[in-house]
């Protein structure tokens, strides 16, 4: 028995890695994607393009604008002379925001009134708009406080802000560990979802079924490449995350790896289920996408689950990536121990168990 199982595993590896093109298609893209996406996937705004329209001639407005010119968050793209220039500039994406200092700003301040400043922001990407607005607010608040302190009336209270686990609020620390979960899922699914369908289309799966191999042995044979490739690729990505992107790994690999293996097993289960449902590669490909796309969205990879409507939040419990994503992020940044993850680990194990058994059953019971 051991011998024939071994033979099957070897055959599965050969089927996957025999030709150069499929070898490349499995191994190379995740690494390239990690490097590109690790840099691309960020919510941090740097070098926001800013144009300035100053309708005032005084020193006060010049001092205020100086703050914006020296800030690293903004790149000044121009100084406008008339109001009519604003709309075409923002419409044509020439500047993300325009800062407009009102007439007689300096005079008003000298009289003890407020200087009117208007900020006009391109809201096409609302998240970017909010970030830019927050930068502007921070600069102006600091400026106001300094001016008020000079006159001897400081604020009656302070707000001290601290962020735990990620003090500089770098969104890359949040996204890159997420990419581990994302790419591990895609690689594993790519390897497993096409494997049975490919044999069904070629007609060799029937031959496999009439051999003495039992369904669970076929399952192990089909699952092995996914497990090795998935865990191997994930380890490579974890290494790059720590040493290249310098995301702090506060927690322990002994917490991460058991979770990773259960996660990969649950993805293998889903992949083999899709594969045994399909009779052609096209159907398997469609099935894989029908799983991947919702799984990525519902996992909270790009936007938090808490922002979703209740029904969708309930649906996320069916998504294995949701659990692993929580674990990988919290292990990396918070260093959370296993006891925090009981409620993530058992649903993921259950998904693995159900999908793997379903796949085994489908091997024999879908025969056309």
């Amino acid at each position: 028995m051991g011998g024939r199982l071994w033979a099957l595993i070897i055959k599965e590896f050969l089927a996957l890695f025999r030709d150069k093109k499929s070898r490349m298609a499995v191994i190379l893209p995740p690494l390239v994607q990690l490097l590109i996406f690790g840099y691309a996937a960020t919510f941090d705004l740097e070098h926001a393009t800013l144009a300035i329209f100053n309708q005032d001639q005084g020193n006060f407005s010049r001092e205020l604008i100086g703050r914006f010119e020296r800030s690293t968050g903004f790149d000044i793209v121009g100084y406008l002379q008339s109001e009519s220039q604003i709309t075409p500039l923002i419409d044509g994406e020439g500047a993300l925001l325009v800062l407009r200092v009102g007439e007689q700003c300096s005079q008003k301040v000298a009289l003890g009134e407020s200087c009117p400043v208007q900020v006009l922001i391109d809201g096409r990407n609302s998240n970017t708009a909010m970030l830019a607005l927050n930068y502007v607010r921070t600069i102006i608040t600091t400026f106001n406080q300094e001016k008020a302190a000079l006159k001897g009336n400081g604020l009656p209270a302070q707000l001290n802000i601290r962020a735990w686990f990620n003090p500089n609020l770098e969104s890359r620390w949040f996204i890159v560990p997420g990419i581990i979960a994302l790419l591990a899922m895609i690689v594993t699914l790519v390897v497993t979802a096409l494997s049975v369908a490919r044999e069904r289309e070629a007609g060799t799966f029937d031959q496999l079924l009439v051999t003495p191999l039992r369904p669970w042995e076929i399952l192990i044979g089909k699952a092995m490449p996914g497990l090795i490739v998935g865990v191997g690729e994930a380890s490579l990505i974890i290494t790059v995350t720590v040493f290249w992107f310098k995301v702090p790994l506060v927690g322990s690999l002994l917490v991460l790896y058991p979770a990773l293996i259960i996660y990969i097993l649950s993805i293998i289960g889903v992949g083999l289920m899709i594969s045994s449902f399909s009779t052609t590669l096209q159907q398997a490909l469609l099935g894989a996408f029908l799983f991947i796309v919702p799984a990525v969205i519902l996992s909270g990879f790009s936007t938090p689950i808490a922002n979703m409507p209740q029904i969708m939040q309930a649906m996320t419990y069916l998504d294995p990536m949701r659990y692993f994503l929580t674990i990988v992020r919290r292990v990396f940044l918070e260093g959370a121990g296993l006891h925090y993850f009981i409620h993530d680990l058992w649903p993921m194990s259950l998904i693995a168990l159900v999908t793997l058994s379903m796949a085994t059953w489908l091997f024999r019971h879908r025969m056309y």
């Binding site: 499929s22 691309a40 960020t42 044509g92 009656p156 209270a157 001290n160 609020l169 919702p294 969708m312």
Partner: protein, 374 residues
């Protein structure tokens, strides 16, 4: 025109059409997939944090402390819960039961009344940096209005040297759905286009039916056009469904012209189908083509198109790479057409880039499909 070309083309299209109809998966890709994805993306992808779980620790229940934390009860952004000590609140933050803590110390009220400018502590869980930043913004908003309110109570009006007025154009309510749904259309159309055609030519080679086609009188361009048209019609069907859902289900405003939207969308569909044909022609094996389609379509369109992660925030090298992703041009066109209007200085360059990419994909396919066997 060579005689009989129309007839051969019709025959080819008919054959392809029958193949589409007989495998339910193509129909599912064109019509079921966009509906499913748009519902999931439209409702599931949101950057607007609401009901943030915040822990409130007030150590002394005096007037200044209570008036400040009272601000958290009145906004839809927060779902406050009270903790008796900072230790308890920190334990809850560590267990991820809350996302942040507002800490008003025992001496806050008395220090405030004696004019010592005491601090209020805000601790946020920084793991999700973007949400953490939003929470900070919300808290600063509450803090700002509390300061104004206090200044009024003391009889003076707060006149800051600079009074900021903010206007967010095109999306004054800052609804993230309005910019995400147009972007989702680009991701969906990329998937549909590539999924429909990625296996089409590889399948013919693998099953040996390509040879059968090659020995017929049909020419290579006729094969390609005959294959393109049925999938183009299917794709346009899916596109119309998606556009209708964006308008009627998600109420995204439509400020540009409809015909321009349809023209640019048809252009993008042509590019996306070209990408599928390209994968299919270059790799010739269904298995490898499927692998390539899986890793090269969804994720790049999702992450590099600017649909959710702003391209302007990426490092220069990555920004340059995004120019290779067709979806990026379409996202830009869609966001502008939906939210701003017919801004030609955005639409023309992006459409030109799409035309170039389409010519590239279809050109390679055309060159590689010749009536010779290797």
């Amino acid at each position: 025109m060579r005689p009989g070309r129309l007839m051969r083309l019709k025959g080819m299209m008919r054959k392809e059409w029958l193949q589409v109809i007989r495998d339910p998966s193509s129909i599912a890709i064109a019509f079921f997939l966009p509906i499913l994805l748009l519902v999931i993306f439209g409702y599931g992808v949101s950057l607007d944090a609401q009901d943030v779980r915040i822990g409130i620790v007030v150590e002394q229940r005096d007037q200044p402390s209570l008036s400040f934390v009272g601000g958290f009860e009145q906004t839809p952004y927060f779902h406050p819960s009270t903790f008796l000590s900072i230790q308890e609140a920190e334990t809850a933050l560590r267990a991820a039961e809350i996302d942040g803590i507002v800490w008003v110390r025992q001496t806050f009220g008395s220090d405030y009344l004696t004019g010592q400018s005491p601090p209020i502590g805000l601790i946020v869980n920084g793991v999700d940096a973007n949400t953490a930043r939003l929470i900070q913004g919300y808290v600063q908003g509450i803090w700002g209005s509390w300061l104004e309110q206090q200044a009024e109570l003391r009889g003076g009006e707060l006149t800051p040297p600079v009074q900021l007025e903010q206007r967010i154009w095109y999306n004054p309510e800052v609804r993230s759905t309005d910019f995400l749904v147009p972007g989702v259309l680009a991701v969906i159309m990329t998937l549909i286009g590539a999924l429909l055609t990625a296996l089409v030519i590889a399948r013919e080679w693998e099953r040996g039916t390509m040879e059968a086609l090659l020995v017929s009188r049909i020419s290579a361009p006729e094969i390609l056009v005959g294959k393109l048209i049925p999938y183009f019609i299917l794709g346009m069907g899916g596109l119309l469904i998606s556009l209708a859902m964006a308008s009627f289900l998600f109420h995204v405003p439509m400020r540009g012209s409809l015909w321009l939207l349809l023209t640019t969308s048809a252009l993008f569909l042509w590019v996306a189908l070209g990408m599928g044909f390209f994968i299919s022609t270059v790799f010739k094996s269904q298995f490898v083509a499927a692998l390539v389609a899986m890793v090269s379509t969804f994720l790049p369109a999702f992450i590099l198109s600017g649909f959710i992660f702003d391209i302007r925030s990426m490092p220069d090298l990555v920004q340059w790479l995004t120019h290779l992703i067709a979806a990026r041009y379409y996202v830009s066109i869609l966001q502008t057409l939906f939210l701003v209007g017919n801004v030609w200085s955005v639409i023309l360059p992006n459409s030109a880039a799409l035309v170039l990419m389409g010519l590239f994909f279809h050109g390679i396919v055309y060159r590689k499909t010749h009536k010779k066997l290797e």
